[in-house]
Symmetry: none
């Protein structure tokens, strides 16, 4: 399984003990991955910063920061770790193991960062950067720079402010379904240009985001 | 002057326009250093993380993070930038210039980070890391890992926790002297490894800190 992980990373460790350490949660008692994670977190941030810098030559620094925060957040890392089946290779204490620690997003994300740190340690930054880019370039390619990591309500607000237009209001139109499975419908109302868009979601907030997203779509046409 | 700066950095730019951009504050209107600063900040964090990782093999991740935060904070960067006379080379708008922008810590720190970013961009991470290490290794060498911004009792506790060992107990051994000038002696008792260290101080707390400091010294050997 360790072999398969290395294939998926596109990197073969020359120091297998370092690979094992990167996969060792602190609950296992052995030399664990906490220090490697510290190192790997900085490698990841730097390699993703470079990827975004190169991919979006026109974006200002604030947008690059926001995009990076989105890419390196725990959920994204855990998704990548899951795709790499890192959980199958984790070493952890009995307690963590029994409580499903090998599926815990924080543990998976930390292990992924630790792998980057271990590669940096044994083979240098460029080798670690290649592995990071192999995993993140597909995500960078999917980014819509206009979205730039902001939620739709914030985007809409900024868009309107940049055009010196009044801000939107959100109105709850309806709530349907049982308490545990509700569906909300919300309208986003713009005074100028006069526009009403409608969004739905499992929460009022989600419905507002959906409505704002529709409004952004219309305004950006 | 630009030549002197490159000498001080120990690095000669192959793309002079990139060096100029790194030294250009946004107030100047020209292509400025904000995006390079984004890149350079991550290079700095990564290179300093590696320096600390190598220098302090026994420190847990939390201590490494704290030490790094201290090294890369604005005041430290501005001090380094001042020593490099970066202010003499800055390009900025009339207004900033007149209000002494070339002495402003935030502007100096940003320019220093931008220089790291520019080197990363044109010559790769290792070249940038060499420059960062040239500037920061002397600061790393001055660090007393036992100080690391924490009191000795906290350090000892974290050291023991990182090795999954039982926590210490502190026992008052003696109190001497008059009420206004007492001297306390305390023992710090570790079960595993079996160790008793003794500390003295003007207060019970000071004596405990002293004893913990002795214990840390023994454990970190």
């Amino acid at each position: 399984m360790i072999q398969r992980l290395q294939q998926a990373l596109g990197y073969t460790f020359s120091r297998p003990e370092l690979l094992l350490q990167a996969l060792t949660h602190r609950s296992s008692g052995a030399a664990n991955n906490e220090r490697l994670e510290f190192l790997g977190d900085s490698v990841l941030n730097c390699a993703v910063a470079r990827a975004l810098y190169d991919a979006f030559p026109d974006l200002p620094e604030g947008s690059l920061s926001r995009l990076r925060a989105n890419l390196v957040r725990q959920e994204t890392l855990a998704d990548i770790a899951t795709a790499l089946k890192i959980g199958d290779n984790l070493r952890m204490g009995e307690g963590e193991l029994k409580s499903g620690g090998f599926r815990r997003p924080s543990i998976l994300a930390d292990a992924l960062e630790s792998l980057f740190g271990a590669i940096f340690l044994e083979a240098g930054f460029d080798a670690a950067q290649r592995v990071v880019r192999g995993l993140f370039d597909p995500l960078v390619a999917q980014i819509d720079p206009r979205a730039s990591g902001k939620d739709a309500k914030t985007q809409l607000q900024e868009l309107l402010q940049s055009r010196r237009l009044p801000l939107p209001t959100y109105q709850l139109v309806s709530t349907e379904g049982e308490a545990h499975d509700q569906s909300f419908t919300v309208e986003c109302v713009l005074a100028k240009p006069a526009l009403v868009t409608r969004g739905t979601g499992k929460s009022r907030r989600a419905a507002e985001q959906d409505a704002a997203h529709q409004a952004c779509g219309v305004l950006q046409k």
